[in-house]
Structure formats: structure tokens, C-alpha cells
Symmetry: C2
């Protein structure tokens, strides 16, 4: 398939304008080691940021500024010389952190498997002073460290105006105020979730504005759902759908992510579940907007994803499991993804079926219905372990949280059976757990959709609520209340601490709790 240029052009024609705000730092802080603090780093206010203006900085001097909240934007700073005329360049190091760990732990020690180029730092040589510098790259941070690596024996520097011009395509004035009476912690959780979504809303729905700064369809689906109950920037969803629809892999599959620069292009990463989510995301978009033109244009792409997904069913009707394929589901090394993939296929086909019927595509609806029956029947026949009361995945018949959650969402069992399955899941608590807010989202969504509202809220509090207690300004890519330095990348420095797939508490609160 490759490129469908008219789709890409449609996407580019609805490029959003970015809203800007000027933000100044609030405090000078110190960050000290403290085993009681989150990730062992405690932040203490030691002064007002405005007191910085007259403080001279010589070789080796540094300061940490706290902007008071999570920001995405462009940093500018004014620097003036103090003392004799500057007789050598200024060598200045800047470090930005969403979290204190990024400021306190030297990046030189980073040894994770994601590129160290994500760590936000710059070393600048300033030949002429005074100057006002506006850094060309976008940073994502709450904390900013200034380190004067060198001046000369004859002069020091002082920092005048320091600021950040924030950018987002999410207009917060469009987000409805919550009604009185919602419990305070849930209102606070909503606020943080909305901020998380807002900071990820740029010229696409980014997964994380620090990392990977790009459009993944797994994140998009959840961001779109949260967007419909908050910012209502539906053209941004539409733009993203056209980007995915317009640039596909060689066999027509929707890629897992796309890049915008220097021109839109699709990544070569293929994830079984992510391709299928194109159909679910289109379904949700139409449900929220009633935009039939977009639905009609993109339907063939959605239908093709369902066919490609169904092609992986074996003669029994089970998604083939082998060591070579990639299906995301969760960041979990031990998780067998066969059952979850089977469930995602059914889940997405159900949404595709609704769209086919709506569009009056009789043949396609019949095909999808047959595939749903085939796959759902096979799931019950071959993946369900009646003795344990759980779906079992892969050759080793693994029982995991993900498998049960996704099968509940796929509605393979009856509503009562699904509720019983989820209650049993909570009670038995299999060892193969959930690592990401993304997987937790699906658990909560399954609980709400099975009517287990109380457990859902309790679990939201136990997860996102704990992040809040740990100081989250925006919700994180990764969180395990029992292992707070958890990272699938080998270092928590590289984790994203404002991550799209973690923004859904606002969706749950506004959809199910108001």
C-alpha cells in the first residue's frame, strides 16, 4: 500500500495551531538523597527564583529552578556578565528534568537501552555577553539546572529573565468544570489527567512530550477517548487517523507509530494489536463526532486491518503464537500475549462490525460477524481453562491479568461471567501482573464495563492515587507502587513522566462517575 497522498494532505491541512503561554520559575530548590522520598530524591525549597537575578555565578556554581508544574515548551534566558569585560566564552550546562532524579543523577551514569539522546541537557558556549538566548529545541520539564562550567578568572555571570514558552494544541478553556460533590481526590486526579493529556497534545497526540514525542496508535486511542470528554479537539484525532491511514506498511497494515518531521513518514514498527486499534479508534471517533465523511474515507483502511488481523487465526480460530511476532499489550517480559491478542482482535472486530452495519456494508459485516463467531468460539473452546476459571495463554498455558482483562473487554463470555472473571482475577491475583498505566487502563475500563464501579474507583485510587501521593504533576508512563524505580529501559531516568496512556482517569471520571 505505502503512501496514500490525499490522506496525508488531508492530515496536513488540519495542522493545529499551538497555544502559547509564558511561564517563569517559582523557586530555587535543592534535591537531596532521602530513602523515604519517591525514587530517593527529596526536593526542598531554598529560595525564590526572583532572588536569582543578582546572584553572580562563577566556574562551578549551579542552581536548580523549580517551575512549579510540568511544562512543555521553549526555554529562554538572559545572561549578563559581572566583573571585568568577559575575556573568554561562557561554558554553560543546562539540564531539564520532569522529575528530581533527572537533575540529581548524572546522565553520564545512564546505562539503559533506550538512547541517551533522550536525556534533556545542553552544553552551550556563549561568545558574546550580555545576551538573550532562546533555545531552539523543545524541552519537557518542571526542574531546570543551570551549571556554569567555566567563565574566566576575570568575570562571572548573572541570569536575568528565565522563562518557558509552553506549547499545546489543547485549549483548557474548553474543558468543562467538574460538578460540585465529586470527591476531592478524584477532582485532583482529573486535573492531573487533563494536564497530562494537554501536555501531550501538540501537532499530533504525542505519547510523551519528553519521549518518544510522537504519535503511537496505542496512545492515540486512549487520548482520543479522554479528549472527547475534555478538550474536544476532534480535528486533532482526525489528523492522526489520516496520518495512520495515509502511510501504511507494505502489506497495508497500519504502522505502530508515525513521525511528522522533516515530512510525515511511518515507522517500520509493526504491532499486531496496534494495527487493529485503527478500527477501534475510527469507531470511537465517529461515535464522538458523527463525522461520516471521515468514516467513509477511512473505512477501507479499518476493514483491511481487520482482515490482516484475522489472517493470523489458525485453523482452530486461535491467533498464532510464535517467537517472532510483536504484539504490545503491556511492558512485560514474561507476559504471553496470545490470549490478549485474540481478545484485541475480537474487541476491534466488534467495533468494526458496528461501523460496517452503519455504512450498510453487508458483505463486510457478514465477514466480520463470522470472524467474531469463529474467534470467540475458539477462545472459549481452546483458551478457557474451566478448572481454574481463567483464560490461559500460549504453550505454557499462562494465567495473567492481561489475558483476563482483555477477554472481558472482548465480551467473549456473558456480562455476568465477565464480572465473575474480574472478581476472581482480583481475588486470585496471578503473578503475571500489569506493569503500565496502559494495561491498568484496560483493567479499569473492564471493571466499569462489567458494572464493577466500586472496584474500579478503588483501583484508580490504588494506582493513579498513589502516583499523586508520590508527587505526580502529570501521570507517568510507568508506575509500580511496589517498585518505584521500575523501568523496562534499564533506568528510570529515561522513563516518561507525562505519558498519554496514563491520562485516562479523566475519561473514567467524566464518563462513568459524573
Amino acid at each position: 500500500m505505502g503512501i496514500q497522498q490525499t490522506f496525508v494532505e488531508t492530515a496536513e491541512s488540519i495542522m493545529p495551531a499551538l497555544r502559547q503561554d509564558e511561564v517563569s520559575p517559582l523557586h530555587i530548590v535543592q534535591i537531596t538523597e532521602d530513602q523515604e522520598a519517591f525514587q530517593s530524591w527529596r526536593t526542598t525549597i531554598v529560595g525564590k527564583a526572583e532572588d536569582l537575578k543578582e546572584r553572580p555565578f562563577g566556574k562551578g556554581d549551579s542552581v536548580i529552578l523549580d517551575f512549579g508544574d510540568h511544562l512543555v515548551g521553549y526555554v529562554s534566558l538572559a545572561i549578563k556578565p559581572v566583573g571585568s569585560p568577559p575575556d573568554a566564552p561562557l561554558k554553560l550546562k543546562l539540564t531539564w528534568g520532569e522529575m528530581p532524579c533527572e537533575i540529581a543523577e548524572p546522565f553520564e551514569q545512564y546505562d539503559g537501552w533506550l538512547s541517551s539522546s533522550w536525556l534533556q541537557e545542553e552544553t552551550l558556549f556563549v561568545d558574546v555577553l550580555p545576551t538573550e538566548i532562546r533555545l531552539p529545541r523543545r524541552y519537557c520539564f518542571r526542574y531546570m539546572k543551570l551549571q556554569v562550567l567555566d567563565t574566566s578568572a576575570k568575570y562571572k555571570v548573572a541570569f536575568g529573565h528565565i522563562g518557558c514558552t509552553t506549547v499545546t494544541s489543547g485549549d483548557v478553556s474548553r474543558v468543562a468544570t467538574l460538578p460540585d460533590g465529586l470527591e476531592e481526590d478524584l477532582a485532583a486526579m482529573d486535573r492531573i489527567a487533563v494536564k497530562t493529556l494537554q501536555d501531550c497534545m501538540q501537532t499530533v497526540f504525542e505519547d510523551g512530550p519528553k519521549r518518544d514525542r510522537r504519535l503511537w496508535i496505542g496512545d492515540l486511542r486512549l487520548q482520543a477517548q479522554a479528549n472527547y470528554v475534555t478538550f474536544n479537539n476532534n480535528d486533532l484525532v482526525r489528523r492522526c487517523l489520516y496520518l495512520f491511514g495515509g502511510m501504511r506498511l507494505a502489506d497495508g497494515a497500519v504502522g505502530a507509530c508515525v513521525f511528522e518531521h522533516p515530512h510525515p513518514h511511518v515507522d517500520d514498527t509493526r504491532l499486531y494489536d496496534y494495527s487493529l486499534f485503527f478500527a477501534a479508534t475510527l469507531h470511537d471517533y465517529f461515535e464522538a463526532t458523527g463525522d461520516r465523511t471521515t468514516l467513509e474515507e477511512l473505512w477501507p483502511v479499518a476493514m483491511e486491518q481487520l482482515r490482516i488481523g484475522a489472517n493470523r487465526l489458525d485453523e482452530r480460530g486461535i491467533v498464532k503464537d510464535d517467537p517472532t511476532w510483536w504484539c504490545f499489550i503491556d511492558w512485560h517480559q514474561e507476559l504471553n500475549k496470545q490470549v490478549s491478542a485474540q481478545a484485541v482482535l475480537i474487541y476491534c472486530m466488534r467495533r468494526g462490525l458496528a461501523l460496517a452495519q452503519l455504512l450498510g456494508k453487508g458483505n463486510e459485516a457478514a465477514y466480520i460477524q463470522a470472524q467474531i463467531d469463529f474467534a470467540a468460539g475458539a477462545a472459549k473452546a481452546h483458551l478457557w481453562d474451566n478448572e481454574q476459571g481463567f483464560f490461559v495463554s500460549g504453550e505454557d498455558r499462562q494465567v495473567s491479568w492481561a489475558s483476563q482483562v482483555w477477554m472481558a473487554l472482548a465480551e467473549v463470555l456473558s456480562p455476568e461471567e465477565n464480572a465473575a472473571l474480574l472478581n476472581r482475577l482480583v481475588e486470585v491475583s496471578p503473578a503475571i501482573g500489569m506493569n503500565t498505566p496502559y494495561m491498568h487502563h484496560h483493567f479499569i475500563e473492564a471493571l466499569f464495563s462489567c458494572g464493577l464501579r466500586e472496584t474500579a474507583v478503588e483501583r484508580m485510587r490504588a494506582y493513579w492515587g498513589e502516583m499523586m501521593k508520590d508527587g505526580a504533576d502529570t501521570f507517568w508512563e510507568l508506575y509500580n507502587p511496589d517498585d518505584k524505580k521500575l523501568s523496562p529501559y534499564g533506568s528510570n531516568l529515561i522513563n516518561s513522566y507525562c505519558h498519554a496512556w496514563s491520562c485516562t482517569p479523566t475519561y473514567f471520571i467524566r464518563r462513568y462517575l459524573l
Copy 2:
């Protein structure tokens, strides 16, 4: 005095245009440790630079490019991704070196007392590939090291066009071809000296285009002398004279150096000899150009320097020596500068006297003549040690090379006595020697002016000729054939290897040997 705005405006009105040339790298080289090589680093060609284009660079890969000659300019490079679409920024480190030591020795180990900010390096994060980068800072180099610090597991990079746009205000087409018959080594020495001067000729005569990148009057005087026999960019000398004349220290003294950016301003460094050199430089400028307007405008500044210099004479007529004053003469910790300063005063007053007479300033000429007689008489009476046959400096009656050289240039003794003094100097060879090409220049100048042409040429070969054998593309700020890592700054990494005060072999060759 401070600012004389009309002088500064005159200087700014004759800002030279910079000539540009595009230069490409020639070779890929390796630099390896070798105790036999200059400063222990041997450079070996291992490939053609053009072979670089298709070579993929991943994390940890690096290459050293040799541009084949010393350059001053702006670097641009094209970078393209190789492999999957880039899914993380490129982290790239660039290091430039005039000499192999700067490439081979990690800057992190630098521990000299000049600012480490002079060491030429940049760490860049490139968010979007492919790209063409033109770095905004000017670099001074022959060697350029590219180090890919990180890409990601999914892609590498390749470097397309790499180039340097050189800049200079020296038009080499104006430099007269040397006549046939000049010995080959002297012709080569002339070429390197001309290149040294050219690379220092920017919008002012810079001392060194790597460091300090600014106008010092000590360098200016020698550059101007070399310029009159080569590039003949006399407006550049004029611009520099007006900058010094237009921005003086509080008591009217000419400052030791001036900065051009962000607007012209004078440094707060005061050097006894450097202020006096304003008069000598103006004298040479008029002699070369006959520009009487400039002479008339700037004469009061020159006259004031002579008065300020003469004010330091004590009741005997000897320049007062105390631990607080600064007089440059040479980079030499042990050198007592009293005799040299006395000689510089006389030397500059002699040139001021010629100007005063030329301008018909009878009173001023009489004042200067009286001061010359007073100071020269006092030198013979109080600084001359008849037994040793040397001038002796300071309380400890130090015998140094500098004292004898400068007294010869000051013409305190008769021509025959001066020649005898210099012959005796070479024969006795006092322990307090000469450390810089700047001081060596004055030695050679003294030899020529006393008619000791053979010794002068021999000494040029022994000094600049040795630099050539050690691989100089341009002549160096510092050189001691017996201590090749010599640096007054604590590290030879920070030495300037293209330095104005080292460019004068072309002056000697073209003035005295053609």
C-alpha cells in the same frame, strides 16, 4: 578620558568585509601516541575524506578529518539517517583542533588556568534527520573529530557534505610573489607567516583566531608591520588605531586590548609597554601610508601615552619597579621587567619625537627629547653594569635576554656598542631566556637593526624553522625547541597555534632579505 565616540564611529565606518572560501576535508586520519612526534602525537592518513560519505556511524563510532591546512571559519555538515526511521535524537560531539593534541587528549582532563571554554567542542542533539547543519560559532582548526555519542538501536547516520567556509580580511592576491633565488626554507617560512597573519586578519587584527580572538596592541604593532609588506590592508590598521584611541582607560591610557562585541569596548587590562606601543604603531602606520589626517587626529592620544609612560620615571629617570604593575614584555615568570620597560619607553618616545617634529609640535618635541635624554642617560648611569657588559634589571640586578634586546632597540648605546651587546648576549646566553615568538621577534629585529644579518637569519631558522620541522601550518603563540609542551597556562591544549605575534618572519624576509 573614557570613550571618544567620533573615533569609535570612524573605526566602525571602516569595518572590513570578510572574504570567504569553501574548504573540504582531505583525509581521514588517526592520531596515535609516539614519543618521537611533536608533543607526542603522530598523525597518520588512513583514508580519503570522500570515502566517508557512505560509512554508517552508530553509537560510539568516531572519525578524525584532516582539512590539510589551518582554517578559520564556519563549519557545515549534512547528516542523513541509515536504517530504520530515526526514533530518537542523534547525539553528536564535534571537536576541533589546530593541533593533534587537541583531538587526542580529552578536554575533560584540562586543568590549566585559562578558561576551558576556549577548547573547541560542541555536543549537539539533532531531533530531525536528514539535516544540514551550519554551526553558528567560528572555529579555528585543521582537524575535526566527529563522535556519534548515541543514535538508537534502530538507526545509524552517515555524513554527506562536510565543509568549512573560511573568513579573513586579508586578500592574499595582494601579497607580492617572492623573487626567485630566496632560499627554499625561507620562502616556506614566509608562506607560513603570511598564512598566520591572514588567519588573524578578521574585522580587527586578532591575536589568535582560536584564542583570545581579539585585538591586543602588542600583537597589532607586529601585525601592522607584517601587513605593510604583504596584504597592505591599511584600513584595518587604521580601524584598530581608532578603536584603541577611541576607548581608553579612566586616566587616558590606551588599554591593552579591546573587544568588538556586542559593541566595541575596552578591556580593563593595563600594561605599561602596551599603552606606549600606541605611539610606535601610529608612527609605523604613518610611515607606511603617509595618512596625515589619521596622524593628526590620533597624535594627542599618542602624546598622552608618552606622558603617562614618562610619569613612571623616578627622580633618577628610571622606571619604577614594584610588585603591583603590569608590563608584558614576555611570558616569563622570573623575568624582571624594569630595564625592558625603560627601553620600551625610550623606543616609543623616539618614534613619538619623529611624529611631533613632523607635525611641527615644537613644545611637545622638546618635552619628548628631554625625556629621552633623561631616561637614556639614567639607563646608562643606573642600569648598565660595566663589569658584566649587560643591562641589569630590578633590585636583584637581573641579567636577561629581554633587557639587552630591548635596550638595543632603544638605541641607548651607540650602534657599535649595541652590536657588541647582542654578540655578547648570544655568547654568554643568560639563563633568563625568551619564551615567546613575540620576544624572539624583538631579538631578531634588534639583530637586523644592528647589522647582524647573518645571526638574525640563523636565529630565525633555529626558532621558526624548528616550528616548521615540528609541523607548523601557521606559527605558534608559544614555542620552546627544548620544551615542546611549554605553556604559561598550565596546558598546551589551550595554547594558540596560529598567533599574530608569531607572523613576523615575512616582515623580516621582505624587509631585510629581499
